[in-house]
């Protein structure tokens, strides 16, 4: 172990003193490479130091290859392969064929450490900020005291804030884990680590909580408590986010029902199948793009939205004109007839597309995730939440600010009066039902991203959707919004304790009890007319 820090300091000194003078390094590199040919551990050690000191661009690659048994030396020179197996000449860094007579440069454990240390220093000083950041994180975890000097030297020059923080944390980690460092320094280090606040920081602090005493221990324990508190808050926030995400899915599924059931009072058991139709439209559009315009595949989803709206909306209008209009004022019969329609639609889809799940891929902008104040947020979910809110806002706008919305409200409040005032009530009925169905279709586009596109897609949402609308109070869009998010969040809050299925059962039972208590939902309309 002893020579390693020495070597590294040496390498560092060379690197720092000779900053920008290129040719001298070429010589240093050549000399170092020569020593690999000797195939003795002593020479190899010197070679490592020389390569590290040379600061040649391919130096990192050479040492990584050495650590991974991909460095070969022979009479013709020194060569390495990258991870894909491509050969390079170590002198020039240019692609080359590795000669057959070149032998692998061997390492023992001591040399392996030396390579890692050299690599750590080199990457800490790498011109690439991302690499510096990774190196600093590696040091934070390894707490290799030998890297301290490099960090100390690199810190004042570091300009990228993120990397600078990582350096500071790495330095603090090293200082904290050096028992003979001054107490004040270690306290400051512990505070600095506590500020970092992530799970690495808390495990480090926990590790030292037992080994220390006095003021330092107090600071460490304080730090642990702070981080734990922060983690609890973050866990809550994460649950909340999951809840909002689930809530937006519920809202999306229920929002069309809030129109057909909530505004018109029609029990549409085929509502779930409207969602399913929307999902299949998405599938078909995507398949068409895949076949004819693969480079525009990312556009298939936005294009599917209006098509899904139109398709589901037309099916809805057909159902209203063909069946439901004969059953106004007979809600229980409507329920049965629309359930029959839902069976027919499911079977139709099963006949055309087969009973198995269909694949709808996510466009590139919906893939992946990002971190936001410590929360993992996937783009797909974020898009769905935003999309849901947009649909909701749009619907609200249609109902409140368009002539159709005005007529819809007029017809639902007093059909005969509306008719007497020249509103074509039948047309409005069909349009309202079409709107509700079309919105269910749009929901299908979004749900195709998070659920299996199968003939059963609709069934899995229908009961939840009714629960949301009834819970929120029939005829009240805002109630539906609040209900969806309340149920979503409550469900996710219960899941850690009860598990997904039991959580859902508990929610259902609570909902049943709630409806007993307030039969007309959270935001019930009051008045004499309503009680009839």
């Amino acid at each position: 172990m002893r020579p390693a820090p020495l070597l590294r300091t040496l390498a560092l000194l060379v690197v720092m003193c000779l900053g920008a003078v290129g040719p001298a390094f070429a010589q240093g590199l050549d000399a170092g490479l020569e020593r690999f040919k000797a195939d003795s551990f002593g020479d190899t050690e010197a070679g490592i130091a020389a390569v590290a000191a040379s600061a040649a661009p391919q130096g990192v690659a050479i040492l990584e290859a050495l650590a991974d048994r991909r460095l070969f030396a022979g009479p013709a020179g020194v060569f390495y392969r990258d991870k894909a197996g491509q050969g390079f000449d170590a002198r020039t860094g240019q692609p080359a064929t590795v000669p057959a007579d070149a032998g692998m440069v061997r390492l023992n454990n001591r040399l392996r450490n030396a390579v890692q240390a050299a690599l750590g220093s080199m990457t800490l000083l790498s011109p690439d900020p991302a690499q510096r950041f990774r190196a600093a994180e590696a040091v934070f975890r390894s707490r290799d005291a030998s890297a301290l000097a490099t960090i100390e030297a690199a810190l004042p020059k570091e300009t990228v804030p993120r990397v600078r923080r990582a350096f500071e944390e790495a330095r603090a980690a090293i200082i904290l884990s050096t028992p003979d460092a001054p107490e004040a320094g270690r306290i400051a280090a512990a505070q600095r680590i506590a500020e970092a606040g992530d799970s690495d920081a808390i495990s480090l602090l926990r590790q030292f909580s037992g080994q220390t005493s006095g003021g330092l221990k107090a600071v460490i324990d304080q730090g642990i408590a702070t981080i734990e508190q922060a983690q609890r808050i973050r866990a809550w926030a994460q649950t909340l986010w999951f809840g909002i995400s689930l809530g937006s899915v519920l809202l999306l599924a229920a929002i069309g029902l809030a129109i057909t059931f909530g505004v018109m009072g029609v029990i549409n058991m085929a509502h779930g199948e409207m969602v399913m139709i929307g999902a299949y439209v998405t599938f078909v559009v995507q398949e068409l793009f895949r076949a004819h315009a693969p480079h525009l595949l990312d556009w298939s989803l936005p294009l599917a939205i209006p098509l899904a709206f139109a398709t589901a909306g037309l099916v809805g209008v057909a159902i209203e004109r063909g069946v439901i209009r004969f059953l106004y004022g007979r809600p229980l019969e409507t329920l049965l007839a629309t359930f029959g329609i839902s069976l027919v639609l499911q079977q139709a889809i099963r006949t055309w597309f087969g009973p198995t799940n269909r694949e709808v891929s996510a466009p590139s902008y919906m893939a992946g995730s990002f971190e936001f104040i410590g929360l993992q947020i996937t783009y797909g979910r974020l898009w769905i939440v935003l999309f849901t809110l947009c649909v909701f806002a749009l619907l609200l706008l249609i109902l409140k600010a368009t002539p159709l919305g005005l007529q819809m409200r007029a017809v639902t409040q007093n059909r005969r009066m509306a008719s007497a005032m020249g509103i074509r009530t039948r047309f409005v009925d069909a349009m309202t039902f079409g709107l509700g169905s079309g919105i269910a279709g749009i929901a299908g586009v979004a749900l195709s991203q998070i659920d299996n596109v199968s003939p059963n897609l609709g069934q899995s949402y229908i009961i939840d959707s009714f629960m949301v609308v009834v819970f929120g109070g029939v005829g009240n869009l805002w109630g539906t919004l609040v209900a969806a998010f309340t149920l979503g969040i409550a469900n996710k809050m219960l899941e850690p304790f009860a598990g997904a299925v039991l959580g859902k059962i508990i929610i259902l039972v609570l909902l049943i009890l709630f409806i007993q208590k307030r039969p007309r939902g959270l935001f019930a309309l009051k008045g004499r007319a309503i009680e009839q």
């Binding site: 069946v323 229980l332 029959g340 329609i341 009961i463 039972v509």
Partner: protein
């Protein structure tokens, strides 16, 4: 005197129904047991079991018609009561297996051994005794119906709201019974039964016995239902169906009346489920699926609700069609047919098959009357 009163209470239709069920209950087991398999009059055990299944459904439909047809409570969760009765019977049958299971545990059913249960859960205690199990067949659905109904009717949850929460109820049970922790066999349910009351459930004689028991239970169910609807209580139920608020203003505690018929109906459904299970040989969570309950509502609608006989008729007709459709090349069209029936019945024949039959009969009668009067006037000098 009593007989005359009984005949009046059953109505003509009801008497015909009872006679048919009684005849079926005697003839089919006789044709199965006494006539040798080669004869054209022989009825195979499979057919008998199938008809037995239909009769259980008919019982279930009568229970549903009692609440929907007469009291206007459209339950979309009645399958839950049927399934609970079935599970109670299934638990008795599981306990009868004893040490003949795969794992040979004399107390624990196989699935419990498999799931590392150390002892029998409290819910299973006593189910080795037939009378206790039969009591549970009535009590478990009855109790659930009582609690659910007490809450729902007291807070005046009516119409589609009630339908939706009954659906939520069976949905919650459906999810629950899938869970292994519930201790009811999870996904696989209860099956591989051996004995009932010491007789082999697979034996032809036992199956004939179960068939006869089903017919007797169906007759009893019908008679009880008919007595209920023919009494003043039945009139109160119809009043509630047609004008709930008015009934309340007359001083009737609507919630109590609804609760009684609701609980009675749930118990009937439980008995139907209990007779169903030993005949089909399995009970699993799929019986709780909300779609089953809605399908049963359609049997009632197709037969003609508020007629009892119609409900039973609808159950048999639809399930017979289902048997035809789901075997062979028609299978892919069954859901089209069933869905189409839903729509057709609600749009074109709101009174169901019985209603259509009565329309035809009254039309024939009036035509005959017209013809008679024409004949009479034809004789008169012009």
């Amino acid at each position: 005197m009593i007989t005359a009163r009984f005949i009046r209470l059953m109505e003509g239709r009801g008497l015909l129904f009872l006679a048919i069920v009684a005849a079926v209950g005697v003839l089919i087991p006789a044709c199965n047991l006494l006539i040798p398999p080669g004869s054209p009059l022989h009825i195979s055990t499979g057919t008998m079991v199938l008809i037995g299944k239909y009769l259980c459904y008919a019982m279930f439909a009568i229970a549903l018609d009692l609440v929907w047809g007469y009291c206007g409570i459209l339950s979309l969760g009645h399958g839950a009561f049927f399934a609970l009765g079935g599970y109670a019977m299934g638990m008795y049958l599981m306990r009868q297996i004893g040490s003949r299971g795969v794992y040979g545990n004399p107390i624990l059913p196989d699935f419990m051994v498999f799931l590392n249960y150390k002892e029998l859960p409290i819910t299973w205690w006593g189910f080795q005794h037939f009378p206790y199990a039969m009591l549970m067949v009535l009590l478990v659905p009855g109790l659930l119906a009582f609690v659910f109904g007490w809450l729902a009717f007291r807070s005046r949850v009516t119409g589609v709201y009630l339908s939706i929460i009954t659906q939520a109820m069976t949905y919650a049970l459906w999810l629950s019974f899938f869970r292994n922790d519930m201790g009811f066999g999870g996904n696989n349910g209860l099956t591989d039964f051996k004995d009932i009351l010491g007789f082999n459930v697979q034996a032809q004689g036992t199956r004939a016995g179960l068939f006869v028991a089903t017919c007797v239970a169906l007759i009893l169910t019908f008679v009880i239902a008919r007595l209920i609807v023919a009494s003043t209580y039945g009139k109160v139920l119809v009043s509630i169906r047609d004008a709930e608020s008015r009934t309340r203003f007359l001083g009737y505690r609507v919630e109590h009346h609804k609760l009684l018929v609701w609980v009675v109906s749930a118990m009937m459904a439980g008995v139907a489920g209990a007779l169903y299970v030993p005949q089909v040989g399995i009970i699993n969570p799929s019986e709780f699926h909300p779609a089953n309950s809605i399908e049963a509502v359609v049997w009632v609608a197709i037969g003609g609700r508020g007629t009892l006989v119609g409900a039973a008729l609808g159950a048999v007709v639809v399930n017979y069609l289902k048997t035809i459709f789901t075997s062979g090349w028609l299978a892919a069209y069954w859901l089209f047919a069933l869905g189409g029936l839903f729509v057709l019945v609600t749009l074109a024949m709101p009174k169901g098959l019985i209603g259509v039959w009565e329309d035809v009969r009254s039309r024939l009668k009036s035509r005959k009357a017209v013809a008679d009067s024409k004949a009479a006037s034809g004789q008169a000098p012009t």
